[in-house]
Symmetry: C2
């Protein structure tokens, strides 16, 4: 049977020319994901990317205004994809608790199967989100970029899960704070477990991070 074909649509402000509109555009996205993961965001340049895909540096600027904007694009793509996963995994679950628990799992687990989209490797993209995404919003331009709506998908994901929290406990005052703590915390713990292990308590085999944050959420809201 054919796989369900869905399509991630990215807001026009995030690119100069839609990378989905040409083969070169898709190559830019897919190869940039691999290269940012390999080199890190600082050492990654449009020049290197151009060389690697047999194209010119300046051609890449036709698609993305800067490497910062490319990162913002990738982040937006990731959260759009997570939002789809989230909605798909939580609709038709009757129990409010099970629903929230499924949502927390989606937000905190490691992505390890590259499943749906031809030119985007979600496994690698997940690693980029963990290691590099904070660099996108920790800049002096955050306020104007936020006004332009660059982070609205991420905020919508937080809002969706916050609503699930509110359904379980309408009196709980800080659902957004809790959910954004869980998302960012899980990413950070995954990074720490690889590079600064004494800041975590990750055990072999089971996914300690998913369990820890699932437990945390339910203890805090009750």
């Amino acid at each position: 049977m054919d796989r369900l074909q869905i399509h991630i649509v990215i807001s026009e402000e995030l690119y100069t020319k839609n990378p989905e509109s040409s083969e070169l555009g898709k190559k830019i996205v897919s190869r940039s994901i691999e290269m940012i993961d390999e080199l890190g965001f600082e050492a990654f340049t449009f020049k290197k990317l151009g060389q690697s895909i047999g194209s010119n540096e300046s051609s890449i600027y036709r698609y993305f205004e800067s490497k910062h904007m490319l990162l913002v694009y990738l982040i937006c793509w990731y959260w759009s994809w997570i939002e789809y996963k989230l909605v798909f995994a939580t609709t038709n679950i009757q129990s409010k608790e099970e629903k929230l628990s499924a949502a927390v799992e989606i937000l905190t687990r490691k992505v390890d199967v590259d499943n749906s989209f031809s030119y985007v490797n979600e496994v690698i993209l997940n690693r980029i989100i963990i290691a590099e995404s904070s660099k996108a919003y920790h800049t002096k331009d955050i306020d104007t970029e936020n006004e332009k709506g660059y982070y609205k998908v991420y905020k919508r994901v937080v809002q969706r899960v916050s609503n699930m929290v509110k359904e379980i406990n309408a009196d709980f005052d800080c659902p957004q704070m809790l959910i954004s703590t869980v998302i960012e915390g899980a990413h950070q713990q995954r990074y720490f477990s690889e590079h600064l292990p004494s800041l975590t308590n990750v055990q072999e085999g089971k996914d300690t991070i998913v369990q820890f944050y699932n437990n945390l959420v339910f203890k805090v809201i009750n």
Copy 2:
């Protein structure tokens, strides 16, 4: 009465020449804190810093190998200072719960009085930690830098508070995970409350962030 004079000692690996050893060195540290806060880490350069303190760019390289190393130095300074605050604020507290609560407050509150050290403004430094510190360890060199001990003070702070958790509940499996989640979460929430407020639930007047994480800690460990 004279103020208690204490002294933050920074490990030698973090600088080329000890900035405390000369007036220029102290000026570099104190003015760099102001400029990183004003310009952001990306736009901050040694050239601009040199111009601002009436000195040459290359003179600054005598003290710090790179702007990255200067940031690592500042982060280390900050956590050494927090460690001092932490020990000072928690010794002689009998109740284990009160002790942990005092520690969590130290870790999550906003620094708003520049109190003890002549050439370091802790209020501004706290803002730098919140906005820029993740850029120090989200690099490809993290593993070698961690081996060299660049982050050992931070890890020691986490360990100290984790021990307090263990004293209250020896069966709790993930104290480091909890405490690093709290520290990083509180910083992130403070940043969000200023720039991406829909990810938080910060209210006027009271310090919601301190309350939230204090409540979280005790709910999770019991």
